[in-house]
Symmetry: C2
Subunit: 132 residues, 2 copies
């Protein structure tokens, strides 16, 4: 299997690149996470966003706990080959672990403070309830 398309990517010194997930219909930027080569290969193979969790140091199949899977529509690469842009369908219409549509829910106001402007769509305690 040729992995030339993966080799063309300029992974950073930790073998990662940032990956932006964007809603394929609204264009809203939902989140940014990181991918290594395996995560990206699997994202394409399984047609869903799979990231590398830097905090847990393992593959993170987006939605594995929450059900908020990101189905892949299109995958783009930037001119420097060091950032990935995913066009996705966000299942549950919630990308953020806070229960909001997007992780970018804070706006800078008056050049001096971050204001939360987006509603919580679902209580995170409800989203991440562990099964007994």
């Amino acid at each position: 299997m040729s992995v030339e398309w993966l080799d063309q990517i300029k992974w950073d010194d930790k073998g990662l690149v940032p990956a932006i997930a964007q809603d394929h219909q609204t264009g809203r930027v939902l989140m940014v996470a990181w991918m290594n080569a395996e995560a990206l290969r699997l994202t394409v193979e399984e047609e869903r966003a799979i990231y590398w969790s830097r905090s847990r140091n393992r593959l993170w199949r987006k939605g594995e706990e929450s059900g908020h899977v990101q189905k892949l529509h299109e995958l783009r690469l930037d001119c420097d080959a060091d950032v990935i842009l995913l066009s996705v369908e966000q299942l549950g219409a919630i990308a953020c672990h806070t229960g909001r549509e997007s992780c970018f829910y804070r706006v800078l106001r008056n050049g001096s403070e971050w204001e939360t402007v987006d509603d919580v769509r679902r209580d995170p305690d409800e989203i991440y309830t562990k099964k007994a």
Copy 2:
């Protein structure tokens, strides 16, 4: 002057965070670059995107050579406080140094190759011609 809003950002071990520039009208993701605290402070102060160039190791006032300034409309922060999202008006309708609207002009085809799908709007040689 309070810089609490800057202190709330989780800069990486190099003092940087990724910054995404998105067209304020179309929602198209134009580019990703990096900012340090000074770049972000100046972005807000001057109401235009100012990045930290990792290759040139200096502040980079987007458009300083090309004229393709990004006027700031809105600035957002993600839940982890380690990615910035800029909503911008892209002067010249070209964000990429290749002369394209967006740096994300390559799409993965058949899970195996990057295909350039966007046109060059202006010859880079023309954009970056040095004044005599």
